[in-house]
C-alpha cells in the first residue's frame, strides 16, 4: 500500500489522466513504421513452403527446378538449420523446418529468398515434395489414448485439482457438456520482419513480436550462435493478442539473411498468417455443479480437454488457467477437476487473450444459469451469493489477499439502465441490410456473466522486467524491452516518468535485446511488471539525485510530491529543476511476489493477483433465420486504479469485441486438420455494424496491494465474460440450450 499512498493523484499530468499516445500522430499520418514497412538496399524477399497435409511423411524434397528460376537466391530445408532444429515457447518440441514428418497443415518445410515476392512465390510453387500421406489424429478426446504423433507423447499436460471433500454433494445437481471452437487472434498487421546480416556472421532481426528475449533465446539455439550475435529490435506491431508470443518467421529470416549475405524481408499474407501462428485452444468441457437450496454452490466436478494441436506452445500454462479458475469467480468449497492438454494433428494452439479462462468461463457461466433455473433463483442473485471476496480461497487453496470486488462489479452492472428498444431501421436488425429479418419475429434476450482472470505469469515462473532511466541535463530517456502492441504501454511510460520526475518530455528508447528481458506483453502483466520497473528506475534516479544534493548541501532532503525539501525547511527544489545540469542513470529489475508450482493435488499459491469483470448483453434474435444482433454490452470491471482513462476504455471496448467474435462469429473451421477458412472472407471478424455500443457501468478502483499505483492489468477480463453473457442472452431470447461457441445460425434456426 505504501507504493500507492506515496504517489499523488495527478490532476492534469502524470498518472491518472488521458495522456496522448506518443505514437498517435505518426499513426494517423501513416508515417509510423510497422514491421511490414521495413526495407533495405539490396533486400531480398523471403517466403515459406508449408505442408498442405496435416499428417504426412516427407519422402523427398526436390527444389532443383525452383533454384534454377532467375532471381531465386536461396532455398533452405531442415538440413540447413545450423543448430538444433527445434524451438518452442515453453520447451523446444517443434521443428524450425519439418524434417521427415509433418504434423499439421501449415507446417514449414522449406524457405526461399528471391528478388521479388512474386518470384519467391513462383519458386515455392516449383518445389516438389513427395509426401506419404498419413491419417491425421484430429479428435482431442481420442488423442489421450491414441498412438503418439510426437516423440513426447500426446498428453502435453494432465492436471488434477482435488480440493475439499470429494464426497460432498448438493441438493440440486446440474450437469452439462460444452464446446469452444478455435478462435484466431487475427491481428491486422500480419507477421513480418527483416533480418540484416553482418560481415562477422552476426545478424540483426527487426520483428513484430510480444517477447524479444524469448524469441532471441530460441533463435540462438537454432542458429547455434552466441547471444550477442543475434540482436533483436522491435519493429512496429500491428496487434498481437497472444498470437505473436511464439516464434514464427524469426529463425527462417535469420537463416536466409546469413545464407545470402543480404537483408531479407518477409511478410505473411493473410492466408499464411492464419497458418503461421497459434490459435485459441478448442475445448471440450464437462461440468457437474452441486448446489444447495440456500443458493450456495457446494461442489464442482469438471473435466476439461484442450486441443493443443501438433506442438506444445503454451498449452501447459493455458490448461493450468482453465483448471485453476474452472469454478469461476465464486467461493466453492469442494472441487474435483481434471484437465488434459493434448497433441493432435490440428494447428498448434497457444496464447490468446484470456488464456484458458475464456474456455471454462463460457461453460461455468452457462452452468450458473442452469443452477439458478434449478433453484428458481435469479441468476444475478445466485452469483452474488457465491461471489469471491478478499480472504476467500480459490480451489487451488490459495487465499485471495488482494482486492476482489466481485459483488461490486455485479451489483453496479445489475443496476445499470437497460437500452432502449432498437430503432426500426433495417441496419439495426439481426442480419442487417440483408433485409430478410422480419421485425415481428425478432425477440430480445438479456444475459449476464462474471469472470476471474489471474494477472501475470504463474506456477513459480521467475517473472521480471528491467528498465533503465537516464537523465542528461533534464532530458529523460527510458529504456525497456517491453513490447508495445497497441495497448498503450508507451503512453504509460511517459506518464509514470512524468509522475516521478516532473518532466513531460520523455524519450522512449526502442525496445531491443540490448537491455534485459521485460517478459512477454501478455497475461495482463506489462503495466505491473514493466510499468513497475520504469517506476522503480525513475525512483532510483530521484534517490540518487537526493543523495547528491544532500552531499552538496550538507543537510537531509525529503521528496514531498515531486519537490525535494530540506530537513530544516529552508531549501525546496522541484525535482525537475534539480535534475538540470546533472547526468544520472539507474537500471533496475522488477519482480512480482513469488509464486509456486501446483502440487499433485493441484494445490499451491501459483498466482500473483486476480481481476474480475461482469458483462451484461442485450441481443435481438430472429430465431427462424438464426440471426443475432448484439444490441448492447454493458460492463463493470475491477481495475485497481485507472492510469489512463481513455486507454482503459479502449482496452475494454476492444476486448469485448473479441468476446463477441467468439460468441457469434469467429471460428477456424477444420476438416481433417486443415483450416477451411484461412482468410477474411470466411473467417468473420466483427465489423463496426456487428459490434454494439459498449456501456461502462462502473470501473471499480480498489487499489491492488503490491501493484504499481495499485493498478491491475485490464486487457483480458473484457474478452472473458462477454462471450458467455452474449450466449446467455441468446438462450434467453430463444429458450435454446446452446452449449457451443461460436453460436452459428444453424444452431439457432435448426434446433
Amino acid at each position: 500500500m505504501t507504493t500507492i499512498e506515496s504517489h499523488k493523484v495527478a490532476t492534469d499530468s502524470g498518472v491518472g489522466v488521458s495522456a496522448q499516445r506518443p505514437d498517435a500522430i505518426p499513426k494517423v499520418t501513416g508515417e509510423f513504421v510497422f514491421s511490414s514497412d521495413l526495407s533495405s538496399q539490396n533486400m531480398l524477399w523471403g517466403r515459406t513452403l508449408r505442408s498442405p497435409h496435416s499428417s504426412a511423411r516427407i519422402r523427398n524434397i526436390d527444389y532443383s527446378e525452383a533454384l534454377a528460376i532467375s532471381g531465386v537466391h536461396a532455398i533452405l530445408t531442415a538440413t540447413d538449420v545450423p543448430g538444433k532444429n527445434l524451438f518452442g515457447l515453453d520447451h523446444p518440441d517443434q521443428p524450425v523446418l519439418a524434417d521427415d514428418i509433418v504434423r499439421y497443415a501449415g507446417e514449414p518445410i522449406a524457405i526461399v529468398a528471391a528478388e521479388h515476392p512474386e518470384i519467391a512465390a513462383k519458386a515455392i510453387g516449383a518445389i516438389n515434395v513427395d509426401f506419404e500421406i498419413l491419417t491425421p489424429l484430429v479428435d482431442s478426446e481420442i488423442a489421450i489414448t491414441a498412438e503418439p504423433i510426437h516423440p513426447e507423447g500426446n498428453v502435453i499436460r494432465h492436471l488434477e485439482i482435488d480440493y475439499g471433500d470429494p464426497n460432498a454433494s448438493g441438493e440440486v445437481i446440474v450437469e452439462g457438456t460444452y464446446e469452444v471452437g478455435m478462435q484466431d487472434q487475427a491481428f491486422m498487421g500480419t507477421e513480418s520482419g527483416m533480418a540484416v546480416p553482418s560481415s562477422d556472421g552476426s545478424v540483426d532481426l527487426f520483428i513484430s513480436t510480444q517477447w524479444l528475449h524469448s524469441d532471441r533465446n530460441q533463435i540462438i539455439e537454432a542458429l547455434d550462435l552466441p547471444e550477442d550475435m543475434v540482436r533483436l529490435t522491435l519493429a512496429g506491431v500491428g496487434g498481437a493478442f497472444g498470437g505473436r508470443e511464439d516464434v514464427s518467421m524469426h529463425v527462417h529470416l535469420c537463416m536466409l539473411a546469413l545464407h545470402t549475405g543480404r537483408p531479407v524481408k518477409m511478410v505473411y499474407d493473410r492466408n499464411e498468417s492464419f497458418l503461421g501462428h497459434v490459435h485459441r485452444h478448442p475445448a471440450k468441457i464437462w461440468y457437474r455443479h452441486h448446489a444447495n437450496r440456500d443458493g450456495r454452490i457446494v461442489k464442482v466436478e469438471g473435466k476439461i480437454i484442450l486441443d493443443g494441436g501438433a506442438y506444445a506452445s503454451t498449452t501447459s500454462a493455458v490448461l493450468a488457467n482453465a483448471c485453476c479458475f474452472s469454478t469461476g469467480p465464486y467461493n466453492v468449497a469442494n472441487a474435483q477437476i481434471e484437465g488434459w492438454g493434448v497433441r493432435t494433428n490440428n494447428p498448434p494452439c497457444g496464447a490468446m487473450r484470456g488464456f484458458g479462462n475464456v474456455q471454462t468461463c463460457f461453460a461455468i457461466e452457462a452452468q450458473m444459469d442452469k443452477v439458478a433455473t434449478a433453484l428458481n433463483v435469479d441468476p444475478i442473485e445466485l452469483r452474488l451469493r457465491n461471489a469471491l471476496k478478499t480472504g476467500d480461497k480459490i480451489i487451488t487453496g490459495q487465499t485471495i489477499t488482494g482486492a476482489a470486488p466481485v459483488k461490486e462489479v455485479i451489483t453496479s452492472l445489475a443496476g445499470h439502465p437497460m437500452p432502449e428498444p432498437a430503432e426500426d431501421n433495417l441496419l439495426a436488425r439481426p442480419g442487417g441490410t440483408g433485409r430478410t429479418s422480419d421485425q415481428k419475429h425478432i425477440k430480445r434476450g438479456i444475459g449476464f456473466a462474471v469472470s476471474i482472470k489471474n494477472l501475470m505469469f504463474a506456477e513459480g515462473f521467475d517473472d521480471s522486467s528491467e528498465a533503465l532511466c537516464r537523465v542528461n541535463d533534464g532530458a529523460v530517456a527510458i529504456h525497456t524491452a517491453c513490447v508495445e502492441v497497441g495497448q498503450g504501454f508507451v503512453t504509460l511510460v511517459q506518464q509514470i516518468a512524468e509522475e516521478v520526475l516532473g518532466i513531460s518530455d520523455i524519450e522512449i528508447i526502442p525496445a531491443d535485446t540490448s537491455i534485459g528481458s521485460a517478459g512477454s506483453t501478455s497475461a495482463s502483466r506489462q503495466t505491473w511488471m514493466s510499468g513497475g520497473a520504469v517506476l522503480k528506475a525513475c525512483e532510483a534516479v530521484v534517490k540518487n539525485l537526493t543523495e547528491q544534493i544532500e552531499r552538496e548541501e550538507g543537510v537531509k532532503f525529503q521528496n514531498i510530491d515531486g519537490t525535494l525539501v530540506s530537513e530544516d525547511g529552508a531549501t525546496t527544489i522541484p525535482i525537475e529543476e534539480a535534475l538540470r545540469g546533472r547526468s544520472l542513470e539507474e537500471k533496475v529489475v522488477h519482480h512480482h511476489a513469488p509464486t509456486f508450482p501446483l502440487n499433485e493435488k493441484g494445490q499451491g499459491n501459483a498466482h500473483v493477483s486476480f481481476a474480475f469483470a461482469a458483462h451484461r448483453a442485450v441481443v435481438d434474435v430472429d430465431q427462424e433465420l438464426g440471426l443475432v444482433r448484439v444490441i448492447e454490452i454493458a460492463t463493470s470491471q475491477d481495475v485497481g486504479r485507472i492510469l489512463n482513462p481513455l486507454q482503459a476504455v479502449g482496452q475494454i471496448e476492444g476486448g469485448i469485441a473479441q468476446g463477441l467474435g467468439l460468441a457469434v462469429l469467429e471460428e477456424l473451421i477444420m476438416k481433417d486438420g486443415v483450416i477451411q477458412n484461412a482468410n477474411f472472407t470466411d473467417y468473420l471478424l466483427p465489423t463496426a455494424l456487428d459490434t454494439p455500443p459498449i456501456e461502462i457501468a462502473s470501473l471499480i478502483e480498489e487499489p491492488e496491494p503490491g501493484a504499481p499505483f495499485g493498478a491491475k492489468g485490464i486487457g483480458e477480463p473484457p474478452t472473458i465474460s462477454s462471450t458467455p453473457a452474449i450466449v446467455a442472452a441468446i438462450r434467453d431470447a430463444t429458450g435454446l440450450d446452446l452449449r457451443r461457441v461460436p453460436v452459428r445460425p444453424e444452431d439457432i434456426a435448426l434446433e
Partner: protein, 168 residues
C-alpha cells in the same frame, strides 16, 4: 499505349515514373514497395479489410484490388495526402484526441474512408457511421472510439462552417 511504355502514376498530386515496376503488381504493392508510400497497409490483400483504402479518382477503393497498370493516368490520393503540410485534418485530430488509435494498422485506411464519408454526409447518425466504416476491420478498438472520433470530426467541420457563416 505510350503510358504503358513510359508509365507514370499521379499520387497525391505528384507524378511518379514507375519504369522499374511490373504493371501486373497490385497498386498497393507499387505504392508501398516502389514509391515508398508505406501508409496504405497490407492486412488481407483481398479487399476484405479496408486497410489499403485510397481514393482512385473520385472512388474509394482497396488498392490491393487495383492493378498498377490500371492506375496509370488516374488521380490517386493516399493517407499521405491527409496532412500534406503537417497539420492534421479534423478526422486525424479527432482520432488522436478521443483515443481511436491502438496498434494503428487499420488507422490509415479508416481515415481515408471516413474523410470520403464525411464529404458526402456531414451529419451522420451513429448507425450511418457504423455502416460507413463496416468495410474497415479493426481488431483492437471494438470501434467505440472510432465512432466517437467520427462524431467529433463531423461536429468540427460543422464548427468550421458556422465560423465561415459568421464571417459572411
Amino acid at each position: 499505349m505510350s503510358d504503358i511504355t513510359e508509365p507514370h502514376l499521379m499520387v497525391n498530386g505528384t507524378k511518379f515514373t514507375i519504369d522499374d515496376s511490373w504493371l501486373g503488381e497490385s497498386l498497393l504493392y507499387t505504392l508501398r514497395e516502389q514509391l515508398g508510400l508505406y501508409g496504405s497497409k497490407n492486412a488481407c490483400e483481398q479487399g476484405e479489410c479496408g486497410s489499403c483504402s485510397i481514393m482512385f479518382d473520385e472512388a474509394l477503393v482497396c488498392s490491393c484490388l487495383v492493378l498498377t497498370g490500371n492506375a496509370v493516368g488516374r488521380e490517386i490520393q493516399t493517407i499521405e495526402s491527409l496532412a500534406p503540410d503537417g497539420s492534421l485534418s479534423d478526422i486525424q485530430q479527432a482520432f488522436v484526441d478521443v483515443g481511436a488509435i491502438q496498434c494503428g494498422f487499420c488507422t490509415p485506411g479508416l481515415l481515408v474512408t471516413i474523410k470520403d464519408f464525411l464529404e458526402s454526409n456531414a451529419e451522420p447518425t451513429d448507425l450511418e457511421i457504423r455502416e460507413a466504416i463496416s468495410g474497415n476491420l479493426c481488431r483492437c478498438t471494438g470501434y467505440g472510439r472510432i465512432v466517437e472520433a467520427v462524431r467529433v470530426a463531423s461536429k468540427a467541420s460543422e464548427g468550421t462552417e458556422e465560423t465561415l457563416n459568421d464571417n459572411d
